[in-house]
Symmetry: C2
Subunit: 339 residues, 2 copies
Amino acid sequence: MVTIGDVARAAGVSRSTASYALSGKRAISAEVRQRVNDAVLRLGYTPNAGARALATSQTMVIGLLAQFLEDEFAPAMLEYMLGVSDTARELGYDVLLVTEADGDKALRRITDSRMVDGLVLLNVAQDDDRLPVLRAAPQPGALVGLPGDCSGLDVFDLDFEEAGRMMVDHMHRLGHHELILVSQPEHVVQRGGAYVWRLQDAALQQARLRGVTLHAVFGESRQPAVGRSLHALLDRYPSATGLLLNNEAAAAALPTVLHERGLTVPDDLSVIGRYSDEFARVFSLPYSSIESAPDRLGRMAVRQLVRRIESEAGRAEPYVVRFVAPELVDRKSTAAPRT
Amino acid sequence: MVTIGDVARAAGVSRSTASYALSGKRAISAEVRQRVNDAVLRLGYTPNAGARALATSQTMVIGLLAQFLEDEFAPAMLEYMLGVSDTARELGYDVLLVTEADGDKALRRITDSRMVDGLVLLNVAQDDDRLPVLRAAPQPGALVGLPGDCSGLDVFDLDFEEAGRMMVDHMHRLGHHELILVSQPEHVVQRGGAYVWRLQDAALQQARLRGVTLHAVFGESRQPAVGRSLHALLDRYPSATGLLLNNEAAAAALPTVLHERGLTVPDDLSVIGRYSDEFARVFSLPYSSIESAPDRLGRMAVRQLVRRIESEAGRAEPYVVRFVAPELVDRKSTAAPRT
DNA sequence: TGAAATCTGCGAACCGGTTCGACGATTGTC
DNA sequence: GACAATCGTCGAACCGGTTCGCAGATTTCA
């Protein structure tokens, strides 16, 4: 293994001079700098990450905590992860991926051992076990997902309230008076997936405001339960003319269910989902949807995190809670209800 | 920050004694060991990862290279990643996730800086740019995906040839004589996605052997192209009675296409896909499929990698190339062709 | 011309662990 | 009772970087 000592010897200078020549933190004559750079190239020198971390207390690694819980829709998580990973790399950071179910234990391990300079938490719950650990950690943290208590952390999320209102208003404007909202499985809500009831409560309130009947129900996460539950739902509310899906698995299952019932969208039923456009195109989800912008959220979280890591001042700056405004992507799956 | 020096002082011993008490690499009296352990608990000591890496040349981190290339089906990759991550953690390793498009450059960065003890490469191409770098690296590597040259590396993959033969034989046994095979986009093949033509070539050969006509075509990766291409395909081969899908996006798009054409599975058309069961259930893919076993493959790769990392002898053991046998999961989407 | 300021580079210390060699105290053996 | 082996602990060196303080050489300016 080639060390900075080897480089220094090859360039005929001391280790410290070699270090300064490479970092530029002190003035070094052009000639010596050239000799050092030549030696680096000739020997193929790359600094040892562990040694550098020890000396500088900087690892240039960001921890990414993504929990894949039962009944959670995993593929959506991937989009957040890629947003985080790409942005981190652009800013010079690598990503340590942590998927352990036991999130707070894992978080403690990562932070205490100083493996990372900062952390991004995905899928943050209302009362997330990981947050006390994160607040106590010496590294800054950014969240994707809104917890009950945001103190001491930067938080980014889709404006799910507005998303819920948009869904209802969109249908109301078209003339619908009875809607069904399919949320994530109850399981997810009980675990603290706040975004589920943030959207749902706002939708219910807006429905009341507009004089629209809204049936809010929990969905399922996979077949065969998800198909069955959609059938049961349509049986139960035969007069509903619009369907709102805050549940990706339900959106994927719906085309077949409607086919089996001989229903056509939007003639017999109007449908709006909530997922990313990329997702819709890859999975052929044919419904208009509220863009959930996972890549943007991941990107925002990392940007803010790195700002905090790199500026001394940033550490003290006020914490932000930022919501991305939902946008409706029209895929022609809504229309006026048939009379 | 609490260091081993603090622990030693609190326990009234030297740093080396504290270290030995914790590692157990030398005999330490029960009493001293107790004092050290108490101090660790009381002070909340966790070893600094960078310092330990520097001293031991072991990071306890595995690098996971997952490239998300244009036209590749990203969500499938997630399943491999989770298999790798879970298994790594079970064996005491963390995972550094690298998603850069420029794979060989990224790989060099990771290996040269000694950030990881070993590497898992996903989505390995026929003539993968990353392999020369990996072979030259001081860390061992394991691949998921079969390249042209496996020398010096452990390789794990689904037996795509057998998968191709199984698909054809299954249809042939049911009495089909004309089939269509939809592969990944041509783009993926050109880039070196060998698994595509491994399956396709084997299927074509088996079809010849069985006297079955097989139309092999490239598919698309997302809407609206994928839907259009399926329609075009069914227009072009109206007498085909069976569809083989080595393309997840096509499998997701098919239900709607068939609905639009008024076709029923398996009465009008028999369909077999190639994806994981988990995937089928989450996305409501209703077709019988060859299980691609991504979690198993990820697990196998990590197991072998860790074996090589941890045993001196393992380094010299012969390299393995292991194929997972495909299994057909029956979802009742195939039947005898209508006469 | 001399003192002060600037420019370059070096040596040493440090980051926080691990590990080797040595050494005093016990224990065991003949 | 003398000598060897074993046990338990310590000090020092080392891993590979970074950074501080210092000093010789050169330049600047009065």
